[in-house]
């Protein structure tokens, strides 16, 4: 994979000797840029709250991506600033946004029918854990004093054609979030198709977990951090 050199550190266009495509782990913005590049032109996409929202900063106009926000809009534009701010025009994170030409509004049941009916091409979500078979845990820590809040996470996880996860590979304590079996409460079963992390891009599916590329580590070094068997993805599988 070659990545345009927009000044981002550490990404080499020309490392083809292995699947390591960067000599350093990727920062949040570099990872968002990579996800944006991987979104097929013409797709309808929902970006989750938090890190996935950064992806919108790197979508190119020629990709002709239409962003969906689950509170009832297709054709969402960038975050509103100054005089653009309108309390009636917000995204799922309740941040004021703008509308692009061709935008449409609809009620909540229609908006979730867009997800649940399998009409969205891709959603990008954050995660606490993802299992080797693509189970997703991203809504609840399960802590006894936590107030649970699920929002649209379960609908997105089960409804979009492809579910991409963006997360750091390791917790602050250095524990892998890619796990054999999720220990946090599940959001969806077998729903994740790709995992973008600071250290590698993983593909999940019936063939187990494949590694498309690594950042700042070799496949062997990556395997030492992750408790599930990894194989290198074939070029055709990317």
């Amino acid at each position: 994979m070659s990545i345009q050199s927009n000044g981002q550190a550490g990404i080499h266009a020309g490392i083809h000797a292995g699947i390591q495509t960067s000599d350093k782990p990727l920062g949040r913005d570099d990872l968002a840029r990579l996800v944006a590049r991987d979104i097929t032109s013409g797709s309808f996409v929902n970006l989750g709250i938090g890190q996935p929202t950064l992806v919108s900063n790197y979508l190119e106009p020629e990709q002709n991506i239409t962003l969906h926000t689950e509170n009832g809009m297709l054709g969402m534009g960038p975050e509103a600033t100054g005089g653009q701010i309108d309390g009636d025009l917000i995204n799922a994170g309740k941040i004021p946004v703008t509308e692009l030409p061709g935008a449409s509004y609809f009620h909540h049941a229609d908006s979730f029918a867009i997800m649940r009916g399998g009409h969205l091409d891709i959603c990008v979500l954050g995660a606490f854990q993802v299992s080797a078979t693509g189970d997703l845990a991203n809504w609840h820590t399960g802590a006894p004093d936590a107030i649970p809040a699920v929002g649209g996470a379960m609908d997105l996880a089960t409804g979009a054609k492809d579910v991409f996860v963006m997360m750091t590979l390791l917790t602050r304590e250095g524990v892998s979030k890619l796990v054999e079996t999720c220990t946090y409460p599940l959001t969806g079963v077998g729903c994740v198709t790709r995992i973008y992390t600071d250290k590698a891009v993983f593909l999940t599916g019936p063939d187990g977990v494949q590694v498309r590329e690594t950042f700042g580590c070799t496949l062997e070094e990556l395997q030492a951090m992750v408790p599930v068997p990894l194989t290198a993805a074939s070029a055709a599988g990317t």
């Binding site: 909540h108 979730f112 649940r116 189970d135 609908d155």
Partner: protein, 219 residues
Amino acid sequence: MLNFPETVNEAVAGIRDGSTVMIGGFGNAGQPFELIDALMDCGARDLTVVNNNAGQGDQGLAVLIKEGRVKKMICSFPRQSDSWHFDAKFRAGEIELELVPQGNLAERIRAAGAGIGGFFTPTGYGTMLAEGKETRILDGRGQVFETAIHADVALIKALTADGKGNLVYRKTARNFGPIMAAAAKHTIVQVSRIVPTGDLDPETIVTPGIYVNSIVKVA
């Protein structure tokens, strides 16, 4: 019979203790603050409230919860950075919570308005929010049975109404308005303006007036 009360207080005067009240809005967009304030003033209590959230800051639904008027919340996302009144009540065990995935919440409300008793959906299958619920494999996927959510009253906000009760909304403030209007036995709408019948283009009407009982104009 459609009516046009002069004030929000008059509009909500019939809401009784123990009612199930749907309140429109996603966050503050589309939240009918004036109607909620009137519901506070009318004194109704032991309410079951259906809303996406459980109040933000110190206004609207948050105040209703703070004042102990809400017995139960049915919502998808109660916990927010400024949901302190709900958080306190929940931790004190003074409010019941039915947590519903957002799409199930919307579809269960829609189902009520469409005369559908329940439906199967993949959302939530295999998660703790499906525990105790009937499941089936349909179209090759595990699916969970969810039932309709009915309400005695809906309080919603629209931009414009006409003399027939037809409604037009504004941007993402539309959110739950149309489906709540259809799901409740009695729908009360606050609008910014009321135009003469015939002034709204029939092609652009979002909620037909058949779902609406009371319309009150707020400044």
